[in-house]
């Protein structure tokens, strides 16, 4: 209760501003660097160039080259450096320009960051945030369009989070930086220009491991992340206006730890599930969520629909085909309708 009140008070104190997703990232970095001298930013082109996606514009002028550091092009090496900085007192934020580049740092991400504390018997903590930018819609071709969000979710010791809105980007990045464990933070390139209100108050730091209901509804639960969240929200509006179907949209946010409970609570209301992911279903968060819900007996088997990337294709450059590959608003509407019709015991709109 008191937390809610404080948030409200802070918001009323004109802390809410309209920011693009890009500006929200930059604001989170700046605010955390002001708050804590231990926070550093490093990566390719992050200093004077302001980052290839302009998410660190103005930071080097403000915080200097020691805290905003251009690195050579060697992801495995500079994430290793971040690890060395982290276990000796710093909180480095590392930018990896495209998610497709994460595997070049495979050892650092798979073997070092998550295992370091464990192997030492808990002697240290590893507060490294690795920001990675991915996703389709840029016409960047096969090696620059992965979201990569599910690739590293099965690594105990690591936390994995996705930002679907400007306010999420702000509050989740601040949470990731403050967390004492390594966090892999996913941004979607297609969202950088989106503008929305961001609560820039001191208390707007997201809770680690919690999903968020972004649109309340009663007939069907749509779970999504990143750009698919935006499409799910558009689909929810169409479903309400066009067909009288009330869709609850859940932004899953964290893939590890994965918040099964919030989805379960939503399903208890709606009894129908649509998963929308910009990635393959196999070995991803959608499959994990379905499996977990099945295990706990809360999966509405007959009225579940899953929208993912096709499992037999890769993302092409071809603009028309790139668009055709990714779940669209129309497809989400269709799947939600199907899920609703599959369980007629619950009358849509009732």
């Amino acid at each position: 209760m008191s937390t809610q009140l404080e948030t409200t008070v802070a918001s009323a104190d004109s802390a809410t501003v309209d920011l693009t997703y890009r500006e929200a990232i930059c604001a989170a970095l700046a605010d955390e660097m002001i708050r804590d001298d231990a926070v550093l930013l490093m990566g390719e082109d992050v200093a004077e160039a302001g980052g290839v996606f302009k998410t660190s514009e103005g930071l080097v002028e403000r915080f200097g080259r020691e805290r905003v550091r251009n690195t050579p092009i060697c992801e495995n090496g500079f994430i290793g450096v971040a690890l060395g900085l982290a276990v000796t007192g710093f909180r480095p934020v590392v930018e990896v320009m495209f998610s497709d580049f994460l595997p070049t740092a495979g050892d650092a991400i798979v073997n070092e960051l998550p295992k370091f504390r464990f192997m030492s018997g808990g002697q240290c903590s590893v507060p490294v945030t690795v920001r990675s930018i991915g996703g389709s819609s840029g016409r960047f071709g096969t090696q620059h369009s992965a979201t990569g969000e599910s690739w590293y979710m099965a690594l105990p010791g690591l936390k994995v989070v996705t930002a679907g809105t400007p306010d999420s980007a702000y509050s989740l990045l601040r949470a990731a930086i403050r967390d004492d464990d390594p966090v892999l933070f996913f941004e979607h390139r297609g969202l950088y220009g989106r503008k929305a209100p961001v609560d820039r108050s001191e208390s707007n730091v997201a809770e680690v491991g919690k999903a968020r209901v972004v649109n309340e509804g009663t007939d069907v639960t749509i779970v999504a992340t990143l750009m698919m969240l935006d499409r799910a929200l558009q689909a929810a509006m169409r479903l309400q206006e066009g067909e009288g179907i009330s869709a609850e949209v859940v932004d899953l946010r964290w893939l590890r730890p994965l918040d099964e409970e919030t989805v379960q609570r939503s399903l208890a209301r709606t009894g129908r599930l649509v998963i929308v992911e910009e990635q393959l279903h196999d070995a991803g968060w959608g499959a994990s969520l379905v499996s977990r819900l099945a295990r706990s007996g809360s999966l509405p088997v007959g009225s579940t629909r899953v929208l993912s990337l096709p499992d037999h294709l890769l993302v092409p450059y071809t603009p028309l085909l790139e668009d055709a590959l990714v779940p669209s608003v129309e497809k989400i509407v269709e799947s939600a309708r199907e899920a609703a019709e599959a369980d007629p015991s619950r009358t849509p709109g009732s």
């Binding site: 090496g77 276990v87 464990f118 192997m119 018997g121 002697q123 903590s125």
Partner: protein, 328 residues
């Protein structure tokens, strides 16, 4: 090769005797490890550093208590040289709670943050960039701490070696990179995988000094590392040091090292760093052969007692190791 005299001594007598004792501890510790393996008290695998003790002790003794080290799966020598109690190391190899990592790390991950030993890596080359990070951290904090990374000849062919040297050079971090060139990368001779014989030459590619040192000569090792550390602390940047050395055993426990040419091992055994330094102590009148024999007996007793005490420690439980996964 056997004729070369040891570099002139600089450390005092007490220090020299302490070095000899520490090298003996490492040698006999690893002999005991073999024995404990036969008894089933240690399982999995181990990578012994027998023959390379002068590198561990000579280099580590050049460090200050507040410096940082990253080591590798062949790390018993460095950990003991840094002052880790033998009991703690034995317990770790036995998977016991009293081990330096609570028993979950094992032989390949001897770590002790209280001694600046911030990581022991079982992935080739991974420790180098972490040492660069620790050195950068010291620089950003304005201290004159340094970081030293130990790794084998095989690591000089993996990308992170070059990535780390380049970053250290560009950012002038106080880092000392120590190659322990024991002539074999796992089971394969270096000349089969590497076109240059002197790995120190690779420093040229990154614009930093590279030096070659007789790794069997503890005085030479200590002098070279001391010089590099001084350079690092005074803002001169990183140094690459190649220690020419040899491992008397195979790569790991199950490797009998039959791929080595006949006579090679014998030739290197003549330059056993412990015998070499013992002779030096005798020749300079610092210790008699009887005193050196007594030292060995005393160390053996310590080793046996440490192993016995370690074996009494309980195993950790699954419940308690959960806390090691996440800090928050």
């Amino acid at each position: 090769m056997t004729d070369r005299p040891l570099t002139q001594p600089t450390p005092d007598l007490q220090q020299q005797l302490a070095w000899q004792r520490r090298m003996l501890e490492i040698r006999l510790f690893e002999e005991k490890v073999q024995e404990l393996f036969q008894q089933g008290l240690i399982q999995g695998t181990t990578h012994l550093c027998q023959g390379q003790e002068a590198v561990s002790v000579g280099a580590v003794s050049a460090l200050r208590p507040d410096d940082y080290l990253t080591i590798t799966y062949r790390g018993h020598g460095h950990a003991l040289a840094r002052g880790m109690a033998m009991e703690s190391a034995f317990a770790e190899l036995m998977g016991r709670r009293a081990g330096c990592c609570g028993g979950v790390g094992g032989s390949m991950h001897l770590t002790d943050f209280s001694r600046g030993l911030i990581g022991s890596f079982a992935i080739i080359g991974a420790g180098l960039s972490v040492a660069v990070g620790a050195a950068l951290s010291a620089k950003l904090r304005g201290t004159d701490q340094a970081a030293i990374a130990f790794f084998g000849d095989g690591a000089t062919n993996i990308g992170t070696f070059h990535e780390a040297l380049n970053m250290a050079a560009v950012w002038r971090t106080p880092t000392v990179f120590v190659i322990e060139n024991n002539l074999y990368g796992e089971y394969t001779p270096l000349k089969e995988t590497t076109a240059v014989e002197d790995l120190a030459r690779r420093a040229d590619a990154h614009g930093i000094p590279g030096t070659i040192v007789d790794g069997q000569d503890i005085l030479a090792v200590n002098a070279a590392v001391s010089t590099a550390l001084e350079r690092a602390r005074s803002g001169g940047g990183p140094t690459l040091i190649e220690m020419k050395t040899y491992r008397f055993r195979g790569h790991s426990r199950t490797d009998p090292a039959k791929y080595r040419p006949a006579g090679e091992l014998d030739k290197w055994l003549e330059r056993d760093p412990i015998a070499l330094f013992g002779r030096h102590l005798e020749e300079n009148g610092h210790a008699s052969s009887q005193e050196l024999a007594e030292l060995r007996t005393a160390v053996q007793l310590d080793v046996d007692a440490a192993a016995d005490r370690a074996a009494e420690s309980p195993f950790p439980t699954l419940e308690e190791i959960v806390d090691y996964v996440y800090a928050a």
